[in-house]
């Protein structure tokens, strides 16, 4: 009895924060997504599915519906770039994390500090710095000109590649840290045992190190994938706005386009993508537990 009342009253501040910070705002977003767009921005509480319809269809001049893949492209681009970013981050992070885990304790601390160093600088500043590196008359262009490799280069900015670069750069520490944590607690004897049992370095990596580092890789993938889906800065600054992602689309609907119901609908689609990703992960984790318990 006592425990129950503590759960209720002791955690009240948390419940209140959850209620006012998460549940009510989401409720508002959901209700706005079903509302009607006002003539001069804003919205009226008149139920309609127009906002969701708009994701797939354009209303033609005659009032008929025409299929419009424009927004699907944005959703697709968002998913694709997020998946690719996550994969590149995985590929970069594993060797880096492994290398750091092999170092002496003092060096380890230093390297981990360096990995987290970018977090001390504002995200906008960090992404902006890529403008200077990649932009016209930027460092890379100058080097290419100077070495005479090429004279005539298209801008390195304002394409999917630049966005990808910016996103990988922004989120790679979030991948390195959990992988490092799981490699670091790996028992060195297991690696020796693998060598002892005729496992070459490659076999040991494939069959012992990677499987045991998997929890870190999964955690890192979620930490990278989820914020990637919602990224706004990289597409605006490095993608030049013409290669929108869902984050930008939402921003523009609440800003310049003044279509709050449509913005809310897109935000809910984005949120459901995140929820789907988390549910898949959750199911796999509980599945594994269930399998272990069944033994």
């Amino acid at each position: 009895m006592k425990k129950l009342s503590f759960n209720l009253w002791g955690l009240l501040p948390v419940h209140l924060i959850m209620l006012f910070g998460l549940i009510i705002p989401i409720g508002i977003v959901i209700s706005v997504s079903f509302a009607t767009k006002g003539a001069y921005g804003g919205f009226d509480y008149v139920f309609t599915l127009k906002a969701y319809q708009q994701i797939l269809y354009n209303e033609g001049w005659t009032g008929g519906l025409e299929f419009n893949p424009q927004y699907l492209h944005i959703i697709g681009r968002t998913l694709l770039l997020s998946v690719i970013t996550t994969m590149i981050c995985l590929l970069i992070s594993f060797p880096v994390a492994y290398y750091i885990a092999q170092q002496k304790a003092s060096r380890k601390a230093l390297l981990i500090y360096l990995v987290t160093l970018p977090f001390w600088v504002s995200m906008i500043v960090r992404v902006y710095s890529w403008l200077i590196i990649l932009g016209n008359e930027g460092v890379i262009e100058k080097i290419l000109r100077f070495t005479g490799l090429t004279d005539n280069i298209d801008s390195l900015l304002y394409n999917n590649g630049a966005m990808l670069l910016g996103m990988v750069y922004s989120y790679v520490p979030l991948m390195i840290l959990p992988i490092f944590a799981s490699i670091e607690k790996l028992d060195g004897n297991l690696i020796e045992a693998s060598h002892d049992l005729y496992g070459s370095r490659l076999t040991t990596l494939k069959r012992v190190i990677i499987p045991l580092a998997k929890p870190g890789m999964v955690a890192g993938s979620i930490l990278v994938f989820v914020p990637c889906l919602g990224s706004v800065l990289e597409p605006v600054l490095l993608g030049g706005g013409k290669n929108m992602m869902m984050g930008n689309l939402i921003t523009s609907q609440f800003g310049g386009a003044r279509n709050w119901p449509f913005g809310s609908a897109i935000a809910l689609v984005l949120m459901s993508l995140v929820v789907i990703a988390l549910v898949i992960h959750g199911l796999r984790a509980t599945d594994k537990d269930a399998r272990q318990e069944a033994l």
Binding site: L190, E192, A193, L197, L212, L295
Partner: protein, 365 residues
């Protein structure tokens, strides 16, 4: 492979291992040479930090000797990486792969050796029955007790039919009862498989119990290499006598030395002539006398007989341990409480203390 011959399995020649360099260098092994025979239960015994694990890791291929050579069945394996050596290890903490089942753990080495699938399956079930773990094959290591993990580690290391099995203090993590049961089991397993076992331990009782031959390591050098009774009865020096079993050391002046015996005088003025090892004239020597070789009261009938006073007494059931003041030295004696004599001597009482000169050993520093 089970070879019944008594040829040389492993030869270590003048192996040196130094960690670090310059003035901070630590010499873990100083010039070790030894031969391990086929089909033998060979034990590396020594206190922690004596270099026994370093030597084992060098044989396994986890560490390279700073100098010297190691040959396995005549093949120089020094520059051979660990995964190519036909030698398997049972690790102190077992090092089982937690993400694999018991059967997968045992199959791991065989898969890397590219055995046929059907042969691997047969070998795994053979190994599981060898260590009585058939019903656990689909479990994971963290679902097993320490003793069960130990058996799996053994099965995993034995499965690829290694030319030699290395065991790094495998019993130290088990409780006393289990440890004693595993001793017998290990010994039987070695006889059954005919594989050469190299066993590392700091427990002298374990070493005496299981080994064909024991190599006593101390301070990075071989102190003595021999059968258990050779090492117990004829220790090569003070270190070995003190490390293996319990003994009384009495400092003595050397009066006379020949090739096998020495005559010394201990502080009570008593002269003892007994077998000697490493004793030189004009240097310090020690008389070593094992507690169980000292007779008390009515059992002290022949040899040297002295008068002593009981200082303390520890009753241990089968045995009683006494500490006895004899002149200015105190001796520890252990007396069996058998049918013919189960008297317990009270503290403070005077007893006759007797021993044969042939039971004493005189050892150099």
């Amino acid at each position: 492979m089970a070879q019944a011959d008594t040829g040389i399995a492993l030869q270590v020649q003048e192996a040196v291992k130094t960690y670090g360099s310059g003035t901070k260098a630590i010499k873990a092994l100083k010039n070790i040479s030894l031969e391990i025979k086929n089909n033998e239960f060979f034990t590396l015994l020594g206190p922690s930090g004596c270099g026994k694990t370093t030597l084992l890791r060098m044989i396994a291929g986890f560490e390279e000797p700073t100098a010297g050579t190691i040959t396995l069945h005549g093949v120089d394996i020094q520059s051979m990486p660990a995964h190519k050596r036909r030698v398997n290890t049972v690790f102190q903490n077992y090092a089982l792969f937690t993400h694999m089942t018991i059967a997968q753990n045992i199959a791991y080495g065989l898969e890397n050796l590219e055995w046929e699938r059907s042969k691997i399956k047969d070998r795994v079930s053979e190994m599981l029955s060898l260590v009585h773990m058939e019903s656990f094959k689909d479990r994971r290591p963290d679902q097993l007790s320490g003793g069960q993990q130990q058996r799996v580690a053994l099965a995993r290391a034995l499965a690829p039919e290694p030319e030699m099995l290395l065991l790094d203090e495998p019993l130290s993590a088990l409780d006393l009862k289990l440890r004693q049961a595993m001793r017998t089991e290990l010994r039987n397993l070695q006889k059954q498989t005919g594989i050469t076992f190299v066993f590392v331990t700091h427990d002298q009782e374990e070493a005496l119990d299981m080994s064909d031959r024991i190599c006593v390591l101390g301070d990075g050098v071989i102190q003595q290499l021999g059968t258990p009774d050779e090492i117990y009865e004829n220790p090569a020096n003070r270190f070995v006598a003190g490390f293996i079993g319990d003994t009384n050391f009495m400092e003595a002046d050397v009066l006379d030395v020949d090739s096998t015996h020495a005559t010394v005088r201990i502080s009570t003025g008593l002269e003892i002539k007994a077998q000697q090892k490493n004793v030189r004239m004009n240097s310090k020597a020690f008389v070593s006398l094992r507690p169980e070789k000292i007779n008390l009261q009515e059992q002290a009938t022949s040899g040297i007989i002295l008068d002593g006073k009981i200082l303390s007494q520890n009753y241990l059931g089968g045995y009683t341990h006494y500490s006895i003041q004899v002149g200015d030295i105190s001796l520890r004696a252990s007396k069996r409480n058998n049918v013919s004599n189960n008297t317990i001597y009270e503290i403070g009482s005077t007893v006759k203390v007797g021993f044969q000169e042939s039971s004493a050993r005189i050892l150099g520093e």
